[in-house]
């Protein structure tokens, strides 16, 4: 992992203080013990997720995490494995461990300050929401110099100056966002592997150095953060500023959880410095994509997605197709001429790989007449008029179309030069000049042909 040793070596469960060898096991434990619905036994992914599930499915509220030790029952804290654990509690744990190992507690402060800069996971930086009493059994918040703010501040992170400003506005915004989060997070988790290491997506969304990030957030926040919720899915910005707020979001007194990691509305990330961008990304990326045919397994892990035909994971029938497709793939990359693979197990319903369907079709003489078709042009209107029996054009046309008439004929000739319709008169759309714009066609005029919209032509059959 690229993270600092935030996890404190061995993963431990925040809710019940048990130690585990592996984060995966920890997560399984949490799901089974703390995030399991007591009504239907469904296992959720986080506390808030469980709360929302109970509310939505069973119409029941729960206010404490099942099987949690007193002080650690906050249902609104978004904790998943080792992520989301409040800084304060991490410290307490560390202290505990240190005490156990008879070490001095000097480290704690340093760690704390370091942690703030950590842009991954959790840490809520200090909001320590829990003003909550919890700590029973824990070394009370102690006076850690580093974390003054913690204790008191539901929402008031005095300690984190930079965050400060951002916080208040965030709070209010939280609730609305809440509901959406957990689920989103969950399924983020689903294919953990995908983001796992990244944490970027992690709920608490990478904290970015508070300072820089905050200001931009401000403006965005008040609106109740609707936009900000980037949600795991698309992290275009991730690398960029991302976050900061998340931390704040996390621990907010009430709302909590979700963490929409409001990202500053920057377009930059998309096209960094207009032009330069990470061209580098290309190489590796390309090869990573290739896998689709070959070795489906290796590349992206099978994120349990249920795409039946999902390449990466599903092998089943696909395997055969994959392999067969792989062959042509090889040749294709070099020279698509061969094409359309036909193999024992699959067949491409496409005439030729070299040329597109439209190109092939356009070659037919039938579609090659680029000259103005004699037939169409003028169309005396009358026959043409009624489209779908709208209205007898004839009678209607004259009156309505005053303006229309003149233009009609020109319409017939489209071959690149419109008679009567100087295509390129500098300075303005000439056509508009012609004829009084008909009544804006869209105003429903029920009767009468669509405001004289009836354009002429009906070259083919006019089965209109």
């Amino acid at each position: 992992m690229g993270r600092k040793k935030k996890k404190q070596l061995k993963p431990w469960c925040w809710y019940c203080n048990r130690d585990f060898d592996d984060e995966k096991i920890l997560i399984q434990h949490q799901k089974a013990k703390h995030f399991k619905c007591h009504i239907c036994h469904k296992k959720l992914y986080t506390g808030p997720g469980l709360a929302i599930h109970c509310m939505q499915v069973h119409k029941e509220t729960i206010d404490a995490v099942p099987n949690a030790i007193p002080g650690r029952t906050d249902i609104e804290l978004e904790i998943y494995g080792m992520e989301g654990i409040p800084e304060k509690d991490m410290d307490e744990r560390r202290r505990l461990l240190e005490q156990k190992t008879q070490e001095s507690q000097k480290k704690k402060q340093q760690d704390d300050s370091d942690e703030y800069d950590d842009d991954e996971s959790t840490a809520s930086t200090s909001f320590q929401p829990q003003p909550v009493q919890p700590q029973q059994g824990y070394i009370p918040p102690m006076a850690q110099p580093g974390l003054p703010p913690v204790p008191g501040a539901p929402g008031m992170p005095p300690g984190i100056p930079p965050l400060m400003p951002g916080v208040p506005p965030l709070m209010p915004g939280m609730p609305p966002v809440m509901p959406g989060m957990p689920p989103g997070l969950h399924h983020q988790r689903k294919y953990t592997q995908s983001f796992c290491g990244e944490n970027i997506m992690m709920p608490m969304g990478g904290m970015m150095p508070p300072g820089p990030g905050i200001p931009p957030l401000m403006p965005g926040m008040p609106p109740g953060m609707p936009p900000p919720v980037p949600r795991p899915g698309m992290p275009p910005m991730t690398q960029a500023q991302a976050v900061t707020a998340p931390g704040i979001l996390n621990r907010p007194p009430a709302p909590a959880a979700a963490v929409p990691t409001p990202q500053p509305p920057v377009t930059k990330p998309l096209f960094p410095s207009a032009g330069q961008a990470q061209a580098a990304v290309q190489g590796p990326v390309g090869t990573d994509f290739k896998p689709l045919n070959s070795t489906p397994a290796t590349t992206t892990e099978p994120p349990k997605p249920t795409f039946p035909a999902y390449t990466q994971s599903t092998a089943s029938t696909t395997s055969t197709t994959n392999s067969t497709a792989a062959k042509p793939a090889a040749s294709i990359t070099s020279k698509p001429a061969t094409l359309t693979t036909t193999s024992a197990t699959s067949k491409l319903i496409h005439p030729d790989e070299d040329i597109s369907l439209e190109e092939r079709r356009a070659q037919l003489p039938k579609y090659q007449r680029n000259l103005p078709r004699p037939g169409q042009a003028p169309m005396g209107n009358p026959p043409v008029g009624p489209i779908g029996g709208m209205m007898p054009p004839q009678p209607g046309i004259p009156p309505q179309q005053q303006g229309m008439r003149p233009p009609l004929p020109p319409h017939g000739q489209y071959g690149g030069h419109h008679q009567g319709m100087p295509g390129y008169l500098p300075g303005a759309m000439p056509p508009y000049g012609q004829g009084p714009p008909m009544v804006p066609p869209y105003q429903g005029g029920p009767p009468r042909p669509p405001m004289g919209m009836r354009p002429p032509v009906m070259s083919q059959g006019g089965r209109y």
């Binding site: 989103g184 995908s194 290491g197 990244e198 970027i200 900000p228 899915g233 698309m234 991730t238 690398q239 061209a279 290309q282 990326v285 990573d288 689709l292 892990e301 994120p303 997605p305 249920t306 795409f307 035909a309 999902y310 390449t311 990466q312 294709i332 698509p336 699959s346 067949k347 491409l348 319903i349 496409h350 005439p351 790989e353 070299d354 597109s356 369907l357 092939r360 079709r361 037919l364 680029n370 489209i387 779908g388 709208m390 233009p407 319409h411 017939g412 489209y414 071959g415 690149g416 390129y424 759309m429 056509p431 508009y432 004829g435 066609p441 919209m453 354009p455 002429p456 032509v457 070259s459």
Partner: protein
């Protein structure tokens, strides 16, 4: 079944009931049929932008025409107007204010159709059929982008006969999409280029194709902040690639999935793989729809990586699709796309455009 709950609309189609044929599969999904549909294959569909009240649908066909219908809330479709090119129409798009429609044709030109005056003038010229046309609205400029089989991408100020800018493409342009400030263009020989449109269009990155077969359609998707962040690319091999421009973890974030294939698994019969003819993203939910030569459409949730729905099989390929501005209507065209060559073309066969209520079926799998 109407678009908005009230039952009606079907009556207007008139020609849809063949009466006798019980096995008629032209509309197995029982969707609303648009009246007065074009006489030849429909190559492109586009709904009006939110700036216009109501919904107006534009369709370009191989009959050289571009038709406009008003789609009412009760599902009724009213033909409004039509324009002609001298060659099949390959792409259509609206201006951001809903007053103009741009059309691209095999006659090597693109036109601007002013709907209020019902006049269309040529605004672009290429050396080969124009395959794509898109309207670009930037804070400091507006223009029309046209992609052609002449391997160029041109940008036009509609008032001038010369292009504002011409960019060379590695190969013939096959499909493109624009969501400011990003544009994605896919070409023949599996070329794929992304452009950034701020200040002026410039090539941003050439991407090695995530697909192994000919590119056929592309659609840009946005992130939660409504900024374009990636695109979906479909090929002729029944596969769609979801590709992010700057993902945190490309290997994991980008993926491809198979679609529009017949079930070849059950028996020893080879699986038929069809081309993906169109991809469209739901403007609100961010989920996507794909339509294929197999005559089916499917809805997918790319974040949950799951399929939401697949339709019944129509008796013709589905050649184009699009959503209206608020995502309530999904329009798809049923017409021959030449996937089986000239032999299977039946000029007598009717071409349809169907409208379906898309508000519910495209909700993401996980409530976001």
């Amino acid at each position: 079944m109407s678009l908005f709950g009230t039952t009606s609309g079907f009556g207007t189609s008139g020609t849809s009931m063949f009466g006798s044929t019980a096995t008629d599969n032209h509309n197995p999904m029982k969707d609303i049929e648009v009246t007065s549909s074009p006489d030849d294959s429909i190559g492109c569909l586009s709904f009006s932008p939110p700036t216009l009240p109501g919904n107006f649908l534009i369709a370009g066909s191989w009959a050289n025409d571009v038709r406009c219908w008003e789609v009412q809330d009760n599902g009724q479709t009213i033909p409004k107007a039509q324009q002609m090119h001298t060659g099949p129409v390959l792409d259509v798009c609206w201006s951001d204010d809903g007053s103009k429609v741009f059309t691209a044709s095999c006659d090597k030109t693109a036109k601007m159709w002013d709907l209020n005056s019902n006049q269309a003038i040529q605004i672009a010229q290429h050396d080969a059929p124009v395959k794509t046309v898109h309207w670009i609205k930037a804070p400091n400029y507006s223009c029309v982008m046209t992609g052609s089989w002449d391997k160029t991408l041109k940008f036009w100020d509609t008032r001038s006969p010369s292009p504002m800018m011409t960019l060379q493409l590695p190969e013939r342009c096959y499909c493109a999409d624009v969501v400011y400030p990003m544009a994605a263009v896919a070409t023949a020989e599996r070329g794929l280029i992304v452009y950034q449109l701020e200040n002026q269009p410039s090539e941003f990155r050439r991407i090695e194709s995530p697909l192994k077969h000919q590119h056929r359609c592309v659609a840009i998707f946005k992130d939660k902040q409504n900024k374009p962040t990636g695109f979906a690319l479909g090929s002729i091999e029944g596969r769609v690639a979801i590709h992010y421009i700057n993902p945190p973890n490309p290997a994991k974030d980008n993926f491809t999935f198979k679609c529009h294939r017949s079930n070849g698994t059950n028996t020893s019969a080879p699986q038929d793989i069809y081309a993906v003819n169109g991809i469209a993203f739901h403007p609100v939910h961010g989920t996507l729809a794909t339509v294929g030569s197999d005559g089916r459409f499917s809805f997918w949730d790319k974040d949950a990586r799951t399929k939401l729905k697949t339709s019944e099989q129509l008796d013709q390929p589905i050649s184009a699709c699009c959503f209206n501005h608020n995502g309530n209507i999904f329009a798809y065209a049923s017409s021959y796309d030449w996937s089986k060559g000239h032999e299977f073309y039946n000029p007598q066969k009717k071409n349809y455009i169907f409208l379906r209520n898309a508000a519910e079926e495209l909700k993401p799998r996980n409530k976001k």
